[in-house]
Symmetry: none
DNA sequence: TGTTATATGTGAGATAATGTTCAATAGTGC
DNA sequence: GCACTATTGAACATTATCTCACATATAACA
Protein backbone atom coordinates (compact mmCIF):
# COMPACT_ATOMS: atom_id res chain seq x y z
CA UNK A 1 0.00 0.00 0.00
CA UNK A 2 2.83 2.34 0.74
CA UNK A 3 3.67 3.27 -2.77
CA UNK A 4 0.28 3.53 -4.36
CA UNK A 5 -1.33 5.28 -1.44
CA UNK A 6 1.33 7.88 -1.44
CA UNK A 7 0.87 8.62 -5.07
CA UNK A 8 -2.87 8.92 -4.91
CA UNK A 9 -2.92 11.08 -1.85
CA UNK A 10 -0.23 13.32 -3.13
CA UNK A 11 -1.86 13.80 -6.50
CA UNK A 12 -5.24 14.49 -5.01
CA UNK A 13 -3.94 16.90 -2.48
CA UNK A 14 -5.67 20.25 -2.55
CA UNK A 15 -3.26 22.51 -0.75
CA UNK A 16 -0.28 21.53 -2.82
CA UNK A 17 2.14 24.12 -1.66
CA UNK A 18 4.87 21.60 -1.21
CA UNK A 19 6.04 19.13 -3.74
CA UNK A 20 5.46 15.64 -2.52
CA UNK A 21 8.39 13.39 -3.03
CA UNK A 22 8.24 9.83 -4.18
CA UNK A 23 8.91 7.73 -1.15
CA UNK A 24 11.84 5.46 -1.52
CA UNK A 25 13.32 7.48 -4.31
CA UNK A 26 14.02 10.89 -2.97
CA UNK A 27 15.22 10.91 0.57
CA UNK A 28 14.99 14.64 1.11
CA UNK A 29 11.31 15.05 0.21
CA UNK A 30 9.76 15.02 3.62
CA UNK A 31 6.13 15.77 4.16
CA UNK A 32 5.00 18.57 6.43
CA UNK A 33 3.79 17.37 9.79
CA UNK A 34 0.14 18.07 9.07
CA UNK A 35 0.22 15.87 6.00
CA UNK A 36 2.00 13.16 7.86
CA UNK A 37 -0.65 13.30 10.54
CA UNK A 38 -3.37 13.00 7.95
CA UNK A 39 -1.60 10.01 6.49
CA UNK A 40 -1.31 8.40 9.89
CA UNK A 41 -4.98 8.89 10.54
CA UNK A 42 -5.77 7.40 7.15
CA UNK A 43 -3.81 4.29 8.05
CA UNK A 44 -6.26 3.50 10.79
CA UNK A 45 -9.04 2.90 8.31
CA UNK A 46 -7.89 -0.63 7.74
CA UNK A 47 -7.68 -2.35 11.04
CA UNK A 48 -7.72 0.14 13.86
CA UNK A 49 -4.05 0.17 14.69
CA UNK A 50 -0.76 1.36 13.25
CA UNK A 51 2.75 0.26 13.98
CA UNK A 52 5.57 2.72 14.40
CA UNK A 53 8.03 0.81 12.31
CA UNK A 54 5.69 0.48 9.36
CA UNK A 55 4.76 4.14 9.52
CA UNK A 56 8.39 5.19 9.76
CA UNK A 57 9.12 3.03 6.79
CA UNK A 58 6.18 4.25 4.80
CA UNK A 59 6.61 7.94 5.48
CA UNK A 60 10.37 7.95 5.27
CA UNK A 61 10.96 9.41 8.68
CA UNK A 62 12.54 8.08 11.82
CA UNK A 63 10.69 6.16 14.46
CA UNK A 64 11.20 8.99 16.87
CA UNK A 65 9.26 11.35 14.65
CA UNK A 66 6.38 8.95 14.36
CA UNK A 67 6.48 8.54 18.10
CA UNK A 68 6.17 12.28 18.54
CA UNK A 69 3.39 12.40 15.99
CA UNK A 70 1.44 9.73 17.76
CA UNK A 71 1.90 11.50 21.06
CA UNK A 72 0.54 14.69 19.54
CA UNK A 73 -2.43 12.93 18.01
CA UNK A 74 -2.94 11.11 21.25
CA UNK A 75 -3.16 14.39 23.13
CA UNK A 76 -5.94 15.36 20.80
CA UNK A 77 -7.82 12.24 21.72
CA UNK A 78 -7.64 10.63 18.32
CA UNK A 79 -5.70 7.57 19.30
CA UNK A 80 -4.07 5.79 22.17
CA UNK A 81 -0.45 4.79 22.30
CA UNK A 82 0.54 1.19 22.67
CA UNK A 83 3.87 -0.52 22.51
CA UNK A 84 5.08 -0.25 18.99
CA UNK A 85 2.21 1.78 17.69
CA UNK A 86 -1.22 3.06 18.51
CA UNK A 87 -4.83 2.00 18.43
CA UNK A 88 -7.75 4.13 17.38
CA UNK A 89 -9.91 5.70 20.04
CA UNK A 90 -12.61 8.28 20.23
CA UNK A 91 -13.58 9.56 16.84
CA UNK A 92 -11.47 6.97 15.12
CA UNK A 93 -12.49 3.99 17.16
CA UNK A 94 -13.24 1.06 14.97
CA UNK A 95 -13.64 -1.44 17.77
CA UNK A 96 -12.67 -4.92 16.84
CA UNK A 97 -16.03 -6.59 16.53
CA UNK A 98 -16.61 -7.18 20.20
CA UNK A 99 -17.47 -4.12 22.16
CA UNK A 100 -19.53 -1.49 20.65
CA UNK A 101 -22.20 -2.59 18.28
CA UNK A 102 -22.78 0.92 17.15
CA UNK A 103 -24.37 1.88 13.93
CA UNK A 104 -21.67 1.33 11.39
CA UNK A 105 -22.87 4.51 9.76
CA UNK A 106 -22.02 6.56 12.82
CA UNK A 107 -18.57 5.10 13.25
CA UNK A 108 -17.85 5.54 9.65
CA UNK A 109 -18.85 9.16 9.82
CA UNK A 110 -16.71 9.67 12.87
CA UNK A 111 -13.61 8.23 11.28
CA UNK A 112 -14.21 10.11 8.10
CA UNK A 113 -12.48 13.45 8.38
CA UNK A 114 -11.54 12.75 11.98
CA UNK A 115 -8.54 15.03 11.75
CA UNK A 116 -10.63 17.91 10.46
CA UNK A 117 -13.23 17.39 13.13
CA UNK A 118 -10.55 17.35 15.77
CA UNK A 119 -9.14 20.64 14.54
CA UNK A 120 -12.61 22.15 14.45
CA UNK A 121 -13.23 20.95 17.97
CA UNK A 122 -9.99 22.50 19.19
CA UNK A 123 -10.92 25.83 17.66
CA UNK A 124 -14.38 25.66 19.18
CA UNK A 125 -13.02 24.82 22.62
CA UNK A 126 -10.77 27.85 22.43
CA UNK A 127 -13.85 30.06 22.36
CA UNK A 128 -15.14 28.71 25.63
CA UNK A 129 -14.39 30.98 28.54
CA UNK A 130 -14.15 30.04 32.20
CA UNK A 131 -17.35 29.19 33.99
CA UNK A 132 -19.63 29.44 31.00
CA UNK A 133 -22.88 27.58 30.43
CA UNK A 134 -22.85 25.74 27.16
CA UNK A 135 -25.31 23.91 24.98
CA UNK A 136 -23.93 20.97 23.00
CA UNK A 137 -26.00 19.60 20.17
CA UNK A 138 -25.83 16.40 18.17
CA UNK A 139 -23.23 15.32 15.65
CA UNK A 140 -19.75 13.99 15.24
CA UNK A 141 -18.03 17.37 15.38
CA UNK A 142 -19.87 18.19 18.57
CA UNK A 143 -18.81 14.90 20.09
CA UNK A 144 -15.23 15.75 19.24
CA UNK A 145 -15.71 19.09 20.99
CA UNK A 146 -17.02 17.30 24.05
CA UNK A 147 -13.91 15.19 24.09
CA UNK A 148 -11.78 18.30 24.17
CA UNK A 149 -13.88 19.88 26.89
CA UNK A 150 -13.96 16.70 28.95
CA UNK A 151 -12.50 17.22 32.35
CA UNK A 152 -13.14 20.94 32.58
CA UNK A 153 -14.91 21.36 35.87
CA UNK A 154 -15.78 25.01 35.59
CA UNK A 155 -18.42 24.65 32.88
CA UNK A 156 -22.08 23.84 32.97
CA UNK A 157 -23.03 21.89 29.90
CA UNK A 158 -26.54 21.22 28.68
CA UNK A 159 -26.97 18.67 25.94
CA UNK A 160 -29.59 16.76 24.01
CA UNK A 161 -26.96 14.20 23.15
CA UNK A 162 -26.64 11.16 25.39
CA UNK A 163 -23.19 10.38 24.05
CA UNK A 164 -22.01 13.80 25.13
CA UNK A 165 -23.77 13.41 28.45
CA UNK A 166 -22.02 10.17 29.27
CA UNK A 167 -18.68 11.34 27.97
CA UNK A 168 -18.64 14.50 30.04
CA UNK A 169 -20.12 12.91 33.12
CA UNK A 170 -17.48 10.23 33.00
CA UNK A 171 -14.83 12.94 32.94
CA UNK A 172 -16.41 14.52 36.02
CA UNK A 173 -17.62 17.60 34.22
CA UNK A 174 -20.94 19.07 35.24
CA UNK A 175 -23.46 18.05 32.61
CA UNK A 176 -27.22 18.14 32.31
CA UNK A 177 -29.14 16.13 29.76
CA UNK A 178 -32.48 17.19 28.40
CA UNK A 179 -35.40 14.89 28.96
CA UNK A 180 -37.40 13.27 26.20
CA UNK A 181 -37.49 10.43 23.73
CA UNK A 182 -34.19 8.95 22.64
CA UNK A 183 -33.65 8.86 18.91
CA UNK A 184 -31.22 6.49 17.25
CA UNK A 185 -28.71 6.35 15.76
CA UNK A 186 -27.54 9.66 17.17
CA UNK A 187 -28.77 9.05 20.70
CA UNK A 188 -30.29 12.48 20.62
CA UNK A 189 -33.13 13.51 22.87
CA UNK A 190 -36.19 14.94 21.15
CA UNK A 191 -39.69 16.07 21.94
CA UNK A 192 -41.60 18.76 23.78
CA UNK A 193 -40.03 18.05 27.16
CA UNK A 194 -36.57 18.66 25.78
CA UNK A 195 -37.65 21.89 24.16
CA UNK A 196 -39.39 23.09 27.29
CA UNK A 197 -36.31 22.33 29.35
CA UNK A 198 -34.13 24.39 27.05
CA UNK A 199 -36.52 27.31 27.09
CA UNK A 200 -36.16 27.78 30.80
CA UNK A 201 -32.42 28.34 30.63
CA UNK A 202 -29.96 30.83 29.28
CA UNK A 203 -26.80 29.50 27.72
CA UNK A 204 -23.72 31.58 27.05
CA UNK A 205 -22.85 29.63 23.94
CA UNK A 206 -24.46 26.80 22.05
CA UNK A 207 -22.59 24.61 19.59
CA UNK A 208 -24.77 23.22 16.83
CA UNK A 209 -24.04 20.45 14.37
CA UNK A 210 -25.65 20.49 10.96
CA UNK A 211 -25.93 18.19 7.96
CA UNK A 212 -25.42 20.91 5.40
CA UNK A 213 -25.58 24.57 4.57
CA UNK A 214 -26.05 26.76 1.53
CA UNK A 215 -26.75 30.41 0.87
CA UNK A 216 -30.29 29.98 2.21
CA UNK A 217 -29.44 28.52 5.57
CA UNK A 218 -28.38 25.53 7.64
CA UNK A 219 -29.95 22.09 7.22
CA UNK A 220 -30.38 18.87 9.16
CA UNK A 221 -31.77 15.48 8.24
CA UNK A 222 -33.99 15.12 11.25
CA UNK A 223 -37.02 17.36 11.81
CA UNK A 224 -37.20 16.27 15.45
CA UNK A 225 -33.62 17.20 16.15
CA UNK A 226 -34.15 20.44 14.30
CA UNK A 227 -36.79 21.58 16.75
CA UNK A 228 -34.41 21.10 19.65
CA UNK A 229 -31.64 22.88 17.77
CA UNK A 230 -33.92 25.85 17.27
CA UNK A 231 -34.76 25.92 20.95
CA UNK A 232 -31.09 25.78 21.86
CA UNK A 233 -30.33 28.63 19.50
CA UNK A 234 -33.17 30.71 20.86
CA UNK A 235 -31.84 30.39 24.41
CA UNK A 236 -28.26 31.18 23.53
CA UNK A 237 -26.19 34.27 23.87
CA UNK A 238 -24.03 33.10 21.01
CA UNK A 239 -24.72 30.52 18.35
CA UNK A 240 -21.78 28.61 16.91
CA UNK A 241 -22.12 26.05 14.15
CA UNK A 242 -19.52 23.33 13.76
CA UNK A 243 -19.32 21.77 10.34
CA UNK A 244 -16.59 20.32 8.18
CA UNK A 245 -16.11 21.48 4.64
CA UNK A 246 -17.82 18.46 3.10
CA UNK A 247 -21.14 20.00 4.14
CA UNK A 248 -20.81 23.09 1.99
CA UNK A 249 -23.70 23.52 -0.42
CA UNK A 250 -25.42 20.39 0.77
CA UNK A 251 -29.05 20.50 1.76
CA UNK A 252 -31.21 18.23 3.87
CA UNK A 253 -34.84 17.85 4.83
CA UNK A 254 -35.11 20.45 7.58
CA UNK A 255 -33.87 23.97 7.50
CA UNK A 256 -32.56 24.71 10.97
CA UNK A 257 -32.04 28.42 10.52
CA UNK A 258 -31.20 31.16 8.10
CA UNK A 259 -27.57 32.07 7.83
CA UNK A 260 -28.28 35.21 9.81
CA UNK A 261 -29.44 33.10 12.74
CA UNK A 262 -25.89 31.99 13.43
CA UNK A 263 -23.08 34.06 14.86
CA UNK A 264 -20.04 31.95 14.10
CA UNK A 265 -19.21 29.08 11.79
CA UNK A 266 -16.20 26.90 12.53
CA UNK A 267 -14.99 24.74 9.69
CA UNK A 268 -11.79 23.31 8.29
CA UNK A 269 -11.59 24.94 4.88
CA UNK A 270 -12.75 28.12 3.25
CA UNK A 271 -16.25 27.83 1.75
CA UNK A 272 -16.79 28.34 -1.99
CA UNK A 273 -16.77 32.00 -2.92
CA UNK A 274 -20.50 32.35 -3.37
CA UNK A 275 -21.28 30.72 -0.07
CA UNK A 276 -18.64 32.73 1.69
CA UNK A 277 -20.15 35.92 0.32
CA UNK A 278 -23.58 34.90 1.56
CA UNK A 279 -22.20 34.10 4.99
CA UNK A 280 -20.43 37.40 5.24
CA UNK A 281 -23.52 39.26 4.06
CA UNK A 282 -25.47 37.53 6.84
CA UNK A 283 -22.91 38.62 9.38
CA UNK A 284 -21.59 35.15 10.15
CA UNK A 285 -18.07 35.10 11.50
CA UNK A 286 -16.05 32.33 9.88
CA UNK A 287 -13.25 30.50 11.65
CA UNK A 288 -11.04 28.18 9.65
CA UNK A 289 -9.41 25.56 11.86
CA UNK A 290 -6.32 23.74 10.76
CA UNK B 1 4.93 -30.17 25.97
CA UNK B 2 2.62 -28.48 23.57
CA UNK B 3 3.83 -28.58 20.04
CA UNK B 4 2.07 -25.39 19.17
CA UNK B 5 3.81 -23.58 21.95
CA UNK B 6 7.18 -24.11 20.45
CA UNK B 7 6.31 -23.59 16.83
CA UNK B 8 8.77 -21.35 15.12
CA UNK B 9 7.91 -17.77 14.67
CA UNK B 10 6.64 -16.82 11.29
CA UNK B 11 5.40 -20.28 10.48
CA UNK B 12 2.05 -18.76 9.67
CA UNK B 13 3.60 -15.95 7.80
CA UNK B 14 0.67 -15.26 5.50
CA UNK B 15 -2.30 -15.41 7.75
CA UNK B 16 -5.20 -14.56 5.48
CA UNK B 17 -7.31 -13.90 8.52
CA UNK B 18 -5.34 -10.85 9.43
CA UNK B 19 -7.12 -8.41 7.24
CA UNK B 20 -4.10 -6.24 6.84
CA UNK B 21 -2.55 -8.23 4.03
CA UNK B 22 0.39 -5.91 4.26
CA UNK B 23 3.68 -7.33 3.10
CA UNK B 24 5.85 -4.87 4.95
CA UNK B 25 3.61 -4.35 7.91
CA UNK B 26 3.39 -7.66 9.64
CA UNK B 27 6.85 -7.92 11.06
CA UNK B 28 6.64 -11.27 12.69
CA UNK B 29 2.89 -10.79 12.69
CA UNK B 30 2.77 -9.14 16.06
CA UNK B 31 -0.16 -7.08 17.17
CA UNK B 32 -0.19 -4.64 20.04
CA UNK B 33 -1.55 -6.14 23.22
CA UNK B 34 -4.72 -4.10 23.14
CA UNK B 35 -5.60 -5.37 19.71
CA UNK B 36 -4.82 -8.92 20.68
CA UNK B 37 -7.13 -8.55 23.63
CA UNK B 38 -9.89 -7.26 21.41
CA UNK B 39 -9.35 -10.20 19.10
CA UNK B 40 -9.50 -12.63 21.97
CA UNK B 41 -12.73 -11.11 23.19
CA UNK B 42 -14.10 -11.33 19.69
CA UNK B 43 -13.33 -15.04 19.59
CA UNK B 44 -15.81 -15.61 22.35
CA UNK B 45 -18.67 -14.61 20.10
CA UNK B 46 -18.74 -18.06 18.60
CA UNK B 47 -19.26 -20.40 21.48
CA UNK B 48 -18.22 -18.73 24.70
CA UNK B 49 -14.94 -20.60 24.90
CA UNK B 50 -11.45 -20.08 23.54
CA UNK B 51 -8.46 -22.40 23.57
CA UNK B 52 -4.95 -21.19 24.17
CA UNK B 53 -3.37 -23.22 21.42
CA UNK B 54 -5.78 -22.01 18.79
CA UNK B 55 -5.36 -18.41 19.89
CA UNK B 56 -1.60 -18.72 19.91
CA UNK B 57 -1.76 -20.16 16.45
CA UNK B 58 -4.20 -17.61 15.16
CA UNK B 59 -2.47 -14.58 16.63
CA UNK B 60 1.03 -15.75 15.94
CA UNK B 61 2.29 -15.50 19.48
CA UNK B 62 3.43 -18.01 22.01
CA UNK B 63 1.15 -19.80 24.40
CA UNK B 64 2.70 -18.02 27.30
CA UNK B 65 1.64 -14.69 25.91
CA UNK B 66 -1.93 -15.83 25.46
CA UNK B 67 -1.84 -17.16 28.97
CA UNK B 68 -0.76 -13.76 30.24
CA UNK B 69 -3.44 -12.09 28.14
CA UNK B 70 -6.13 -14.30 29.53
CA UNK B 71 -4.95 -13.62 33.04
CA UNK B 72 -5.17 -9.89 32.40
CA UNK B 73 -8.62 -10.16 30.92
CA UNK B 74 -9.63 -12.40 33.75
CA UNK B 75 -8.60 -9.77 36.26
CA UNK B 76 -10.92 -7.38 34.49
CA UNK B 77 -13.75 -9.80 34.99
CA UNK B 78 -14.33 -10.49 31.33
CA UNK B 79 -13.57 -14.18 31.38
CA UNK B 80 -12.62 -17.07 33.58
CA UNK B 81 -9.60 -19.27 33.06
CA UNK B 82 -9.98 -22.96 32.43
CA UNK B 83 -7.50 -25.61 31.47
CA UNK B 84 -6.27 -24.85 28.00
CA UNK B 85 -8.36 -21.75 27.55
CA UNK B 86 -11.07 -19.60 29.07
CA UNK B 87 -14.83 -19.22 29.17
CA UNK B 88 -16.84 -16.03 28.97
CA UNK B 89 -18.33 -14.55 32.10
CA UNK B 90 -20.03 -11.39 33.21
CA UNK B 91 -20.96 -8.87 30.56
CA UNK B 92 -19.60 -11.11 27.84
CA UNK B 93 -21.76 -13.99 28.85
CA UNK B 94 -25.00 -12.03 28.76
CA UNK B 95 -24.27 -10.17 25.60
CA UNK B 96 -21.08 -9.17 23.92
CA UNK B 97 -22.57 -5.78 23.20
CA UNK B 98 -21.65 -2.81 25.25
CA UNK B 99 -21.76 0.64 23.81
CA UNK B 100 -18.89 2.04 25.76
CA UNK B 101 -15.71 1.20 27.50
CA UNK B 102 -17.20 0.64 30.87
CA UNK B 103 -15.69 1.62 34.14
CA UNK B 104 -13.77 -1.24 35.63
CA UNK B 105 -15.64 -0.80 38.87
CA UNK B 106 -18.91 -1.12 37.07
CA UNK B 107 -17.71 -4.10 35.08
CA UNK B 108 -16.68 -5.74 38.25
CA UNK B 109 -20.02 -5.19 39.88
CA UNK B 110 -21.75 -6.45 36.78
CA UNK B 111 -19.71 -9.59 36.80
CA UNK B 112 -20.23 -10.03 40.49
CA UNK B 113 -23.29 -12.17 40.90
CA UNK B 114 -23.98 -11.88 37.20
CA UNK B 115 -25.79 -15.17 37.22
CA UNK B 116 -28.11 -14.08 39.99
CA UNK B 117 -28.80 -10.73 38.40
CA UNK B 118 -29.60 -12.40 35.14
CA UNK B 119 -32.11 -14.70 36.81
CA UNK B 120 -33.66 -11.77 38.64
CA UNK B 121 -33.93 -9.86 35.40
CA UNK B 122 -35.66 -12.75 33.66
CA UNK B 123 -38.20 -13.02 36.46
CA UNK B 124 -38.83 -9.29 36.34
CA UNK B 125 -39.28 -9.29 32.59
CA UNK B 126 -41.88 -12.01 32.94
CA UNK B 127 -44.07 -9.59 34.89
CA UNK B 128 -44.16 -7.08 32.05
CA UNK B 129 -47.34 -7.27 30.02
CA UNK B 130 -47.82 -6.11 26.44
CA UNK B 131 -47.91 -2.39 25.78
CA UNK B 132 -47.14 -1.30 29.32
CA UNK B 133 -45.38 1.88 30.39
CA UNK B 134 -42.43 1.14 32.60
CA UNK B 135 -40.05 3.05 34.79
CA UNK B 136 -36.51 1.69 35.00
CA UNK B 137 -34.25 2.95 37.75
CA UNK B 138 -30.52 2.73 38.35
CA UNK B 139 -28.39 -0.28 39.14
CA UNK B 140 -26.83 -3.38 37.72
CA UNK B 141 -29.91 -5.55 38.17
CA UNK B 142 -32.00 -2.97 36.37
CA UNK B 143 -29.50 -2.86 33.54
CA UNK B 144 -29.75 -6.62 33.24
CA UNK B 145 -33.53 -6.23 33.04
CA UNK B 146 -33.13 -3.68 30.28
CA UNK B 147 -30.99 -6.16 28.39
CA UNK B 148 -33.77 -8.70 28.58
CA UNK B 149 -36.39 -6.17 27.52
CA UNK B 150 -34.27 -4.81 24.69
CA UNK B 151 -35.97 -5.15 21.38
CA UNK B 152 -39.54 -5.20 22.67
CA UNK B 153 -41.24 -2.57 20.62
CA UNK B 154 -44.57 -2.54 22.42
CA UNK B 155 -43.35 -0.89 25.62
CA UNK B 156 -42.84 2.68 26.63
CA UNK B 157 -39.94 2.94 28.98
CA UNK B 158 -39.04 5.93 31.13
CA UNK B 159 -35.68 5.90 32.80
CA UNK B 160 -33.32 8.05 34.82
CA UNK B 161 -30.48 5.81 33.73
CA UNK B 162 -28.51 6.82 30.66
CA UNK B 163 -27.10 3.33 30.23
CA UNK B 164 -30.60 1.95 30.02
CA UNK B 165 -31.61 4.75 27.69
CA UNK B 166 -28.83 4.02 25.24
CA UNK B 167 -29.22 0.28 25.47
CA UNK B 168 -32.93 0.32 24.74
CA UNK B 169 -32.73 3.00 22.10
CA UNK B 170 -30.05 1.01 20.32
CA UNK B 171 -32.41 -1.96 20.30
CA UNK B 172 -35.10 0.21 18.76
CA UNK B 173 -37.32 0.15 21.78
CA UNK B 174 -39.24 3.29 22.63
CA UNK B 175 -37.46 4.96 25.50
CA UNK B 176 -37.62 8.33 27.20
CA UNK B 177 -34.92 9.65 29.47
CA UNK B 178 -35.55 12.09 32.25
CA UNK B 179 -33.78 15.42 32.11
CA UNK B 180 -31.37 16.66 34.72
CA UNK B 181 -27.83 16.45 35.94
CA UNK B 182 -25.86 13.33 35.15
CA UNK B 183 -24.30 11.62 38.13
CA UNK B 184 -21.35 9.27 37.88
CA UNK B 185 -20.53 6.47 38.17
CA UNK B 186 -24.06 5.24 37.62
CA UNK B 187 -24.90 7.65 34.83
CA UNK B 188 -28.13 8.40 36.60
CA UNK B 189 -30.11 11.57 36.07
CA UNK B 190 -30.93 13.57 39.17
CA UNK B 191 -32.45 16.85 40.17
CA UNK B 192 -35.74 18.73 40.20
CA UNK B 193 -36.27 18.54 36.45
CA UNK B 194 -36.13 14.76 36.55
CA UNK B 195 -38.56 14.62 39.43
CA UNK B 196 -40.95 17.02 37.77
CA UNK B 197 -40.87 14.98 34.58
CA UNK B 198 -41.78 11.83 36.44
CA UNK B 199 -44.61 13.49 38.27
CA UNK B 200 -46.43 14.29 35.08
CA UNK B 201 -46.69 10.66 34.01
CA UNK B 202 -48.34 7.47 35.11
CA UNK B 203 -46.32 4.27 34.84
CA UNK B 204 -47.83 0.81 34.98
CA UNK B 205 -44.79 -0.64 36.69
CA UNK B 206 -41.54 0.77 37.97
CA UNK B 207 -38.48 -1.33 38.67
CA UNK B 208 -36.25 0.06 41.40
CA UNK B 209 -32.73 -0.89 42.33
CA UNK B 210 -31.53 -0.50 45.90
CA UNK B 211 -28.29 -0.76 47.84
CA UNK B 212 -29.78 -2.57 50.79
CA UNK B 213 -32.86 -3.38 52.83
CA UNK B 214 -33.73 -4.34 56.36
CA UNK B 215 -36.89 -4.57 58.41
CA UNK B 216 -37.19 -0.79 58.41
CA UNK B 217 -37.10 -0.22 54.70
CA UNK B 218 -35.07 0.03 51.50
CA UNK B 219 -31.83 1.99 51.28
CA UNK B 220 -29.63 3.61 48.68
CA UNK B 221 -26.21 5.22 48.85
CA UNK B 222 -27.17 8.33 46.95
CA UNK B 223 -29.61 10.89 48.35
CA UNK B 224 -30.02 12.43 44.91
CA UNK B 225 -30.95 9.16 43.30
CA UNK B 226 -33.26 8.45 46.18
CA UNK B 227 -35.40 11.46 45.39
CA UNK B 228 -35.92 10.28 41.85
CA UNK B 229 -36.70 6.78 43.05
CA UNK B 230 -39.38 8.19 45.31
CA UNK B 231 -40.89 10.15 42.46
CA UNK B 232 -40.91 7.06 40.27
CA UNK B 233 -42.59 5.05 42.99
CA UNK B 234 -45.21 7.74 43.56
CA UNK B 235 -46.16 7.71 39.89
CA UNK B 236 -46.37 3.96 39.59
CA UNK B 237 -49.25 1.55 39.56
CA UNK B 238 -46.94 -1.15 40.84
CA UNK B 239 -43.57 -0.87 42.53
CA UNK B 240 -41.09 -3.72 42.04
CA UNK B 241 -37.69 -3.79 43.70
CA UNK B 242 -34.87 -5.83 42.16
CA UNK B 243 -32.13 -6.81 44.53
CA UNK B 244 -29.84 -9.77 44.94
CA UNK B 245 -29.51 -11.56 48.23
CA UNK B 246 -26.22 -9.88 49.17
CA UNK B 247 -28.23 -6.76 49.98
CA UNK B 248 -30.24 -8.34 52.78
CA UNK B 249 -29.86 -6.51 56.08
CA UNK B 250 -27.53 -3.96 54.62
CA UNK B 251 -28.19 -0.30 55.14
CA UNK B 252 -27.03 2.80 53.34
CA UNK B 253 -27.25 6.55 53.72
CA UNK B 254 -30.71 7.20 52.34
CA UNK B 255 -33.89 5.36 53.12
CA UNK B 256 -35.80 5.13 49.87
CA UNK B 257 -39.06 3.82 51.33
CA UNK B 258 -40.60 1.74 54.03
CA UNK B 259 -41.14 -1.90 53.23
CA UNK B 260 -44.82 -1.19 52.82
CA UNK B 261 -44.06 1.22 50.02
CA UNK B 262 -43.10 -1.64 47.73
CA UNK B 263 -45.41 -4.18 46.14
CA UNK B 264 -43.00 -6.85 44.97
CA UNK B 265 -39.42 -7.82 45.71
CA UNK B 266 -37.54 -9.98 43.23
CA UNK B 267 -34.39 -11.60 44.52
CA UNK B 268 -32.36 -14.76 44.11
CA UNK B 269 -32.57 -16.31 47.54
CA UNK B 270 -34.95 -16.34 50.46
CA UNK B 271 -34.28 -13.55 52.94
CA UNK B 272 -33.36 -14.33 56.56
CA UNK B 273 -36.39 -15.35 58.60
CA UNK B 274 -36.74 -12.08 60.45
CA UNK B 275 -36.52 -9.99 57.31
CA UNK B 276 -38.92 -12.27 55.50
CA UNK B 277 -41.42 -11.92 58.31
CA UNK B 278 -41.14 -8.14 58.16
CA UNK B 279 -41.61 -8.16 54.39
CA UNK B 280 -44.68 -10.35 54.65
CA UNK B 281 -46.08 -8.22 57.43
CA UNK B 282 -45.66 -5.18 55.17
CA UNK B 283 -47.50 -6.95 52.38
CA UNK B 284 -44.53 -7.28 50.05
CA UNK B 285 -44.81 -10.11 47.56
CA UNK B 286 -41.52 -11.98 47.29
CA UNK B 287 -40.36 -13.67 44.10
CA UNK B 288 -37.31 -15.92 44.27
CA UNK B 289 -35.64 -16.22 40.88
CA UNK B 290 -33.31 -19.09 40.14
C1' DT C 1 22.42 36.99 4.94
C1' DG C 2 22.64 35.72 9.50
C1' DT C 3 19.96 34.33 13.46
C1' DT C 4 16.54 32.27 15.80
C1' DA C 5 12.77 28.83 16.32
C1' DT C 6 11.07 24.47 15.09
C1' DA C 7 11.41 19.88 13.50
C1' DT C 8 13.83 15.76 13.01
C1' DG C 9 17.57 12.35 13.70
C1' DT C 10 20.77 9.57 16.68
C1' DG C 11 22.43 6.96 20.35
C1' DA C 12 22.55 4.98 25.22
C1' DG C 13 20.45 3.26 29.14
C1' DA C 14 16.05 1.82 31.00
C1' DT C 15 11.77 -0.59 30.40
C1' DA C 16 8.29 -3.57 28.79
C1' DA C 17 6.68 -7.34 26.03
C1' DT C 18 7.43 -11.68 24.51
C1' DG C 19 9.87 -16.21 24.08
C1' DT C 20 11.99 -20.37 26.26
C1' DT C 21 12.91 -23.77 29.51
C1' DC C 22 11.58 -26.85 33.01
C1' DA C 23 9.67 -28.87 37.17
C1' DA C 24 5.07 -29.32 39.02
C1' DT C 25 0.29 -30.21 38.22
C1' DA C 26 -4.19 -31.28 36.35
C1' DG C 27 -6.84 -33.82 33.18
C1' DT C 28 -7.65 -38.50 30.60
C1' DG C 29 -7.96 -43.16 29.49
C1' DC C 30 -7.17 -47.69 31.26
C1' DG D 1 -5.26 -46.12 41.47
C1' DC D 2 -1.72 -45.64 37.63
C1' DA D 3 0.58 -44.18 33.66
C1' DC D 4 0.48 -40.73 30.12
C1' DT D 5 0.04 -36.32 28.05
C1' DA D 6 -1.11 -31.54 27.88
C1' DT D 7 -1.08 -27.55 30.51
C1' DT D 8 0.67 -24.50 33.84
C1' DG D 9 3.41 -20.92 36.10
C1' DA D 10 7.82 -19.24 37.62
C1' DA D 11 12.34 -17.84 36.43
C1' DC D 12 15.28 -16.41 33.12
C1' DA D 13 16.70 -14.93 28.20
C1' DT D 14 15.82 -12.12 24.38
C1' DT D 15 14.22 -9.07 21.93
C1' DA D 16 11.76 -4.60 20.68
C1' DT D 17 10.45 -0.42 22.22
C1' DC D 18 10.55 3.71 25.14
C1' DT D 19 12.54 7.82 27.04
C1' DC D 20 15.80 11.13 27.44
C1' DA D 21 19.28 14.13 26.11
C1' DC D 22 21.59 16.18 22.67
C1' DA D 23 23.12 16.87 17.70
C1' DT D 24 21.67 18.22 13.33
C1' DA D 25 18.80 19.78 9.88
C1' DT D 26 15.11 22.55 8.19
C1' DA D 27 12.03 26.43 8.16
C1' DA D 28 10.95 31.28 9.60
C1' DC D 29 12.21 35.81 9.84
C1' DA D 30 14.49 40.21 10.43
Amino acid sequence: MAGSDTRTLGARRQDAEIDAAEPGQERGGRLPAALRHARIIASFEKNGFVSITSLADELNVSGMTIRRDLDALGKRGLLERTHGGAVATGPLAITGASFDIEEPAFEQRMRLRALEKSAIAEAAAALVGPGESLGLDVGTSILALAQVLAGRRDLRVFTNNLRVGMLLAEANSTVYVLGGQVRVPEFSVIGPQAIAAVESHYLDKVFIGVSGLDAHGFYDYSPEDTEVKRALMASAGEVIVLCDSSKFNRRALSRVALLSGVGTLITDNAPPAELQAALEAAGVKIIIAR
